[in-house]
């Protein structure tokens, strides 16, 4: 993965010194709260319901074991001994003290980490597929391009005060989209054109929040060397013409809609025509330099263990289920991709204790070349596990709580921190996730109903991506009471769609039963092997309404 050179190290150190200075001026009253706000947000620091919250960047989800250990130490020394993996592949601390944050950032910088632009009206952490570089069906490894975008967007002098936040996601797989690119401000799908040249299909104006939208394509093919100049053109058009009079209409999706995708694309092309040959244009040498950081690890020839694995699976049903659900195919036949699920019932989805962070670091060192990836579903991936070590790994992680074989099932819930922690939330989300996990605790039943994305957000800011859940849950506040609105039919994948609202909202205690009714409608109506989303698309929302509101 990417390793800092002297330039990165210098800028990281200067950033820490700058924020220390800013924090001191804020605490001394030289900066008003209003003036300090964007400065602290662009260093990841929120002031939350119970305490400040620090969002630490994990660029496109990649972490080294030394970084995990440092995170663990920071949670112990400055926080309450746990961290939270977010839906944008980042990590959050829920209880730091404001005056400690410069020290925390200094500790992070020592291991090449930072909290730059993890919040605020600027370009945020670029995200991608957690299986990048190890899956068989990708056009090319997207991570060098993510790093190119990270560097270009870091401290960009023109785009630090955009109308609103701005998120870029990159996907390189031809058949799946684990990065949900069509619900990002810019979604970049890597493609090859008819001449075999590498480039991007560019979506602009997707997003969740108050006005969920699937991002339209504004350019079918952008050559790779033009990536940064084109992004600069999109951002400049947005910076100049995006609405600033109304926070709720300030995302780029509103501008794209107002101008129409064609009109917006024309404006971008016009701007781009002036700057496409500027010094910001990438060079072949630069791209190959970035690619040099994402080389193949030193994988060894692994003996064919097909028979042994088959026997182990036959003899051990739980291992068999774990392989079926939490282990994915690697491009190298001797290796496998293992997802450690952070969704044990009774633990808030995505939370990890300091001890668990260290356990993950040890697992990475022992089984996966010292690296892990954080997923937007709030799990952690060991991307390079030898197949002849799978059984041993499974035995090791089971008592740690990372082997719950529910990946991509109903209980692999995406869930924001919600009203338990977040000042913006209208309702709690974690207890809803837990009550549904308890309702569906029979693993055989869970496997029978198949893959279902259940996404829960505690408010319409949609950190839990509820709009694109096959089943989405949104917490709402009605006269001081928490209620939950359900939507059906969303998807964050290549067939991206915004879910449709089922009807009036429900009290929290009714949620497990309501969820059960929804699943019953699916089970009663599905044809053989038909996943939930397909059944929903075939029969529509009415049968669900009738049953739930009967």
């Amino acid at each position: 993965m990417y390793v800092y050179d002297e330039h990165d190290r210098q800028m990281a150190a200067e950033r820490v010194a700058q924020f220390r200075d800013q924090t001191e001026r804020a605490l001394a009253g030289e900066l008003s709260e209003d003036e300090f706000l964007p400065l602290r947000l662009q260093n990841g620091l929120y002031v939350q319901r119970l305490a400040p919250m620090l969002r630490i960047a994990v660029p496109y989800g990649m972490l080294r074991s030394v970084q995990l250990r440092r995170l663990a130490r920071i949670t112990r020394d400055y926080d309450k001994g746990y961290a939270h993996f977010t839906t944008r592949q980042n990590v959050q601390l829920n209880w730091p003290a404001i005056e400690d944050v410069p020290d925390i950032l200094a500790e992070l910088a020592e291991v090449e980490m930072h909290a730059n632009q993890t919040s605020g009206n600027c370009i945020r952490n670029t995200t991608t597929d957690q299986f990048s570089g190890v899956q068989a069906d990708e056009i090319t490894d997207p991570r060098p391009y993510c790093e190119i975008v990270r560097q270009w967007s870091t401290f960009h002098p023109e785009f630090a005060f955009l109308p609103r936040k701005f998120k870029v996601a990159v996907n390189a797989s031809e058949h799946t989209d684990r990065a949900a690119i069509q619900v990002h401000d810019i979604g970049l799908q890597m493609v090859r054109n008819d001449q075999g040249e590498l480039g991007f299909r560019v979506h602009v104006g997707g997003g969740l929040g108050r006005t969920p939208m699937v991002g339209p394509v504004i350019r079918e093919f952008l050559p790779e060397l033009d990536l940064l100049t084109y992004l600069e053109a999109v951002l400049r058009v947005y910076n100049r013409y995006g609405r600033r009079d109304n926070k709720f209409k300030a995302r780029i999706k509103i501008l794209v809609k107002a101008l129409t995708p064609e009109g917006f694309a024309a404006k971008v092309e016009d701007e781009w025509s002036h700057i496409k040959d500027s010094p910001t244009r990438l060079t072949e040498e630069a791209i190959s330099q970035f690619k040099g950081y994402f080389t193949e690890p030193d994988r060894q020839p692994v003996p064919d263990v097909t028979d042994a694995l088959a026997t182990q699976r036959f003899e051990n049903r739980e291992f068999d289920q774990w392989i079926s659900h939490n282990v994915d195919t690697h491009k190298n036949p001797g290796y496998a991709i293992v997802t450690l699920t952070m969704k044990k019932t009774g633990t808030p989805p995505g939370d990890a204790s300091d001890r668990q962070l260290e356990q993950i670091a040890d697992l990475a060192d022992q089984y996966s070349f010292g690296e892990v990836r954080v997923t937007h579903q709030q799990n952690v991936v060991l991307a390079d596990v030898r197949k002849d070590q799978l059984f041993e790994l499974w035995q090791v992680i089971t008592p740690m709580g990372f082997a719950t074989a529910n990946l991509n099932t109903l209980t692999d819930v995406i869930c924001c921190p919600g009203g338990d922690y977040c000042a913006l939330a209208n309702a709690k989300s974690i207890p809803v996730a837990e009550s549904i996990q308890r309702q569906f605790d029979d693993m055989d039943y869970l496997y029978d109903i198949g893959n279902i994305d259940l996404n829960i957000s505690g408010c319409m800011n949609a950190c839990g991506h509820h709009h694109v859940g096959n089943i989405g849950v949104l917490g709402v506040d009605k006269k001081g009471q928490e209620f939950y609105q359900i939507s059906l039919g969303g998807s964050s994948h290549h067939d991206a769609a915004i879910g449709k609202i089922l009807g009036p909202s429900f009290a929290r205690e009714d949620m497990p039963e309501v969820m059960q009714k929804i699943i019953n409608v699916y089970v009663d109506n599905r044809t053989e092997e038909e996943p939930f989303l397909d059944t929903y698309r075939r029969i529509g929302i009415e049968p669900f309404k009738e049953r739930v509101y009967a």
Partner: protein, 167 residues
């Protein structure tokens, strides 16, 4: 007379004043001292100012710098107003004036100009700054130089880091 910060952090005084946009029906009142007038009004009557070399213009954040195409270098000073420090349009305006319209003279940041935005402004092509009155002008030099380099090409450099690394 306002204190004006220059890009190296030094402080000087000058007597350029900003002439606000007159209300409807009122006419522009040009003082007998160096004056910055609304850019569109200057354009509309620029022949009236031919005998003065101390007239510049100012642009508000919603205005388009392109209106000055071809004539920018007739102006000794262009000011860009930041109505609120969080309004980032002025950064794009500055880069367009410098990089697209090739403006060569003084580009001044005015309005809600605070310390922590100075370095971004400098990178986008501003070379003088009138800090909001309640801010400590002596801290400007430090804030203009928190970073010794940047990742991107901008008005201040044609060499993004990826090109410097490759050379």
């Amino acid at each position: 007379m306002p204190d004006v910060i220059t890009s190296d952090g030094s402080i000087r005084k000058d007597n350029w004043v900003i002439v606000p946009r007159p209300a409807d029906g009122e006419s522009l009142d040009i003082p007998d001292q160096p004056a910055l007038i609304p850019a569109d009004l200057w354009l509309a009557g620029k022949e009236h100012f031919d005998d003065r070399d101390d007239i510049g213009v100012w642009l508000d954040s919603h205005e388009e710098p392109e209106i000055l195409a071809g004539v920018v270098n007739e102006l000794p000073v262009i000011a860009v107003n930041f109505p609120k420090f969080s309004d980032g349009r002025g950064y794009s305006i500055a880069r367009l004036l410098r990089e697209r319209l090739n403006y060569r003279h003084e580009l001044r940041a005015v309005g809600d100009v605070l310390l922590d935005q100075l370095q971004f402004m400098k990178r986008c092509g501003f070379n003088t700054y009138v800090l909001r009155a309640d801010k400590d002008i002596n801290k400007a030099a430090r804030c203009l130089n928190f970073f010794t380099q940047g990742y991107q090409a901008a008005t201040d450099t044609d060499e993004p880091l990826f090109r410097r690394r490759a050379s």
